[in-house]
Symmetry: C2
Subunit: 494 residues, 2 copies
């Protein structure tokens, strides 16, 4: 694969090896990437945003490097039980019962809202978005293979994966670093309380009790798939027995991804994934977020400012920029201060783009070594998608632009092109930011504002302060502030 | 069911009886409605818009009458073969092969675009939007029942519905009015060319050839469901063995809906649907629309004006209003003149709403019999969803509002409330129009425009024609026209 910047190779941190590795796709230029999507029984929150944006960044950068990426992100609409365990109610079915709806009405409602939020965050749609409930046959077929290989057993119409047997010839814990001995002591159970041979075994098919709504016929009677099965079956169906990248939040590392590896390895005879990538979590003022802790907030809450812990509403782009200001594997703490700083920082970058447009090219201008800044951006992305370093380099570019403007506003034509492309490629394409959100039709609004600013300027020249005051008051009613600087007047929505 | 306006009962034209019938849901206040959605292998065109808007109108009105509607509209992503026949390639698989994509990438791409178009047209999302490929098990189970009942036969791994046997005890043609004798003469085939016993038999399961990409295991070997099966299976799964309304375009009446009735009647022992509703087609300048006729245009073409037959771009709301100006069972001819007339008409209604806001209430004002206009709106909707009659009544309301404005601008407080609610309920809720599309953040843009209009007015007063010319030119650059009338100046985007 010839990257645009193959001077430095793309390194990705592989959870499997616990180190950064050179990224080499199985069938370059094709890349297969699977990421665990939401369980659609509630509104999307910050954790959903971080996972989606982290892998959106990776998807966008791989495409920028001219890879042909098939990106699969699933919708979990069945089989995900409470507490991510083998017992308890199905999360979707429970919500459906509460709301007196058919489970698929719950799924539709929250899927549409999830898509709306992701569109607001400028997260690209994946290439395929399969539903777990739409792939029951594929899951049953895979369970049959696992049974045929002898790594699962049936009890009363449920099928459990035999972790002890698997671990005798493979390594259950290869991804999470857990040891089966520790698992044994952590899952000791009272005798007779479970159908499982061992507490760490997990269900790959569950018998449906009479009252269970979501059920399908199977060779073992009516039931539904275990949570971990869907990703193994759909990853294999759309990306093959082995594919390049599997991503998800760190909270999914164990048991979900560990179990996926075991299932797929047994069914297909080889480990399913080359590179396992995991994004870190978001804390709120240093605390874990959760409904029981009273600090959970949905993305809609944040976008509207409708939560007691929020000082104001924060736009989707502010949230996106805030998330990209940390590398995806770092912890990230959510606070009003951090968001307001993110908002300021982002505006500074966009202002820098505008300033660049005002500069003039001159073959004899002093070089600013724009090439070095561009190189640094690629090196940052190639170092495990280090978006905060990219942002730091873009700030450096803006600093240079502003200092040129302060001197004589001239730079070399080639360097102008490099800076223009740099901002275009990284700010819009790779980081996926856009400056038009929040104001609707930005070009039209800006056109009207420029007209008004000019009218105000002319009123001032003729000392018509009635008119200039009228303009300021009218704009104030619309929550628009004018700022007079030495380069003219700018405007912003409060 | 106590409707808001139960003085007149809701009548719907039932294709099954070929007459208008009083609408009485099986389990009022619950209503189950199934509508055939798109086969997602290409961009949505006017036909998609008319079907979606017709049943969106019905969905909205039933909800307005306080029915609890479960609205299922499917996505066809497998089994729909070329020419809607039993032979030929699968439409999705063919497109996938052409584009060198996995079929589900094609499905995702066009489904996302379909949703975008429907959102632009302000079509509400259905309660459930099931994919055909996600319900293979349900289809296989239904095929098994049909086989068990003896109304289907297997040939080389394909299953065909036995129309002749069905017609001996039931009536194949009950919906479309076709006679099996006519079908026989129309489907006479050369002997040995088909696996079917009779040309009018239809596949409910097709054997997948080696090269066929979309395939699932079944009791009859690897294959895929026939096109008509999905709607029978998904309708039954989400709405029960019998439900209230089944809708779709008239082009689906035969063989699709006729075959659905036969399948479901055999599998469930009773006819599936109480009321069959069909929307009519759209012609273009009097001609049928189609790719081979060179006059096919996508919704995106229309919204951007990017087609040689279009004089300009037409906004999604103009298209919506144009479609609602015909009753859903009438033919509708698409032309530049008709669209421009629709655009004008719609703007007149919105202008009327603004004028209403300027009126003053006065207990002693003369009565305008607002109640009669409201009653006429309900009677129109209750007469098989006669949206053009509703629109005519709303124009009457606007005529009254304008004449009040011309006299002394006063009306009775109760009548003010009736007119306000009438416009709110019918224009926004039931017809589903909104005035803010096309200009993004309409309130902000309008606020800026009002400021500019005032500045222009003041410039004129002081005979400062330099300023007023500047304003006209600047707005011209932004494609905004000003119109001076006796009630002041209005603006519109060209």
């Amino acid at each position: 694969m010839s990257n645009r910047y193959n001077e430095s190779k793309l390194l990705v941190f592989n959870t499997l090896s616990r180190k950064k590795e050179v990224f080499e796709p199985l069938k370059s230029p094709f890349v297969g990437m699977y990421v665990c999507g939401p369980t659609v029984y509630g509104d999307a929150h910050l954790g959903h945003a971080r996972a989606a944006i982290s892998f959106d960044l990776i998807f966008r950068y791989l495409k920028h490097l001219d890879y042909k990426v098939r990106y699969v992100r699933n919708i979990t609409d069945v089989g995900h039980l409470e507490n991510d365990a083998d017992d308890g109610e199905d999360k979707i079915a429970k919500k459906a019962l509460l709301e007196q709806l058919e489970p698929m009405e719950v799924v539709q409602y929250y899927t549409v809202r999830y898509h709306k939020n992701m569109d607001q965050l400028n997260v690209l749609r994946p290439s395929i978005e399969p539903h777990a409930s739409g792939h029951i046959i594929e899951q049953i077929e895979m369970i049959k293979k696992i049974l045929d290989e002898g790594y699962a057993y049936e009890v009363n119409g449920s099928i459990y994966f035999d972790v002890e047997k698997y671990n005798a010839s493979h390594h259950y814990g290869i991804l999470s670093g857990r040891k089966i001995e520790d698992l044994i002591s952590n899952t000791r159970e009272l005798a007779g309380q479970s159908e499982k041979r061992n507490g760490f075994d997990f269900a790959i098919w569950k018998r449906a009790e009479e009252s269970h709504i979501m059920r399908w016929p199977s060779p073992w009677g009516d039931g539904f798939p275990g949570w971990h099965m869907e990703c193994s079956a759909m990853g294999c169906k759309y990306l093959g027995d082995q594919f390049d990248i599997h991503g998800g939040g760190m909270d999914l590392l164990f048991p979900h991804h560990e179990s996926e590896i075991a299932q797929s390895t047994v069914a297909n005879g080889k480990p399913p994934v080359r590179y396992w990538l995991h994004n870190n979590m978001i804390t709120l003022n240093g605390q874990k977020m959760g409904k029981s802790l009273g600090n959970a907030m949905s993305l809609d809450d944040i976008f509207t400012g409708n939560h007691p812990l929020l000082e104001k509403a924060y736009s989707p782009m502010t949230i996106r920029f805030f998330i990209l200001q940390a590398q995806y594997r770092s912890t990230l703490d959510f606070s009003n201060e951090a968001l307001q700083a993110a908002d300021k920082g982002m505006k500074k970058l966009f202002a820098g783009m505008e300033t660049l447009k005002q500069l003039k090219t001159d073959k004899n201008a002093v070089s600013i070594d724009a090439k070095a800044i561009e190189k640094a951006c690629y090196e940052s992305m190639n170092d495990d998608f280090n978006s905060p370093m990219v942002i730091a380099n873009l700030f450096e570019a803006v600093r240079v632009i502003n200092s040129l403007k302060a001197v004589d506003g001239r730079l070399q034509p080639e360097e102008f092109e490099i800076l223009k492309n740099l901002l275009q490629h990284f700010l819009f394409e790779v980081l996926g930011l856009n400056s038009e959100e929040g104001t609707g039709n930005f070009a039209l609004v800006d056109g009207l504002m420029q007209t008004i600013i000019q009218l105000r300027q002319e009123a001032r020249v003729r000392k018509d302060f009635t008119t200039s005051d009228l303009i300021r008051n009218k704009l104030g009613d619309l929550n628009i502030d004018l700022k007079d600087g030495k380069d003219g007047t700018s405007w912003e929505v409060r």
